[in-house]
Amino acid sequence: MLFKLSGSLIVIAISFAYGLFCSKKDKFHLEDLREFKKFFLILTSEITYSNTPLYQIFLDIAEKTGDITSLMCKNAAYEIINNQTSAELIFKKAFLDIFNFTYLDSEDKKYFLSFSKILKSDDKNQIISNIKTIISYIENKEQEVINKSLNNMKMYKSLGVLGGLLIAVILI
């Protein structure tokens, strides 16, 4: 009996913890989106007001942003310095390397990868207008995630506990 009881408690605790984690997922997604918004805003101002080379811009951004975007910028900058391949491929590779460590979804991935194609262009204004489109996408997505998270947070917490109890009752 004690064995069954402790087993049930473990199942409920794990289920509750998983529910808590799921309820925080939207928050982590929001943090990542804000981090990338910061990256694109700094990039826009750097492109607009300075004539520094791309690797230097990436290194500057790496110092001003959080862990994930900082790592991406550092990787991209070192790739530009060492391999000197196209900026498109370098950004794509740097983004895909860090993508699995983020909470971004496939739609975000599609938009951010589309940014790498813009880097091919020599037209400064075109690059800036495209970055502004991505920033407006991020702002819309932020709002969408905020609305969704309010609803989901309570649901996942309740589902965690109830799911755990249900599993315990079925298996006991």
């Binding site: 609803n151 989901n152 309570k154 649901m155 309740s158 589902l159 109830l162 799911g163 109890l165 249900l166 009752v169 079925i170 006991i172």
Partner: protein, 64 residues
């Protein structure tokens, strides 16, 4: 028949009903229906043996 099965079915019923309400309020009607169905299947799985036993008893009683 083990009487504990009645309490287990009652517990599953209560939990599935609450889960159903939580999911419906979150706007996930499809998942709510799937949860209800899963609960029904689990309970049917438990009682199917007893139902079979009941039919056997009825058949034996009336020599059918």
């Amino acid at each position: 028949m083990d009487i504990s099965i009645v309490f287990r079915i009652a517990a599953v019923g209560i939990l599935v009903a609450v889960l159903n309400q939580v999911l419906i309020r979150a706007g996930r009607e499809e998942q709510a229906m799937l949860t209800t169905l899963a609960g029904l299947v689990v309970v049917l799985f438990w009682v199917i043996g007893y139902i079979s036993e009941l039919f056997e008893t009825v058949r034996a009683l009336f020599s059918l």
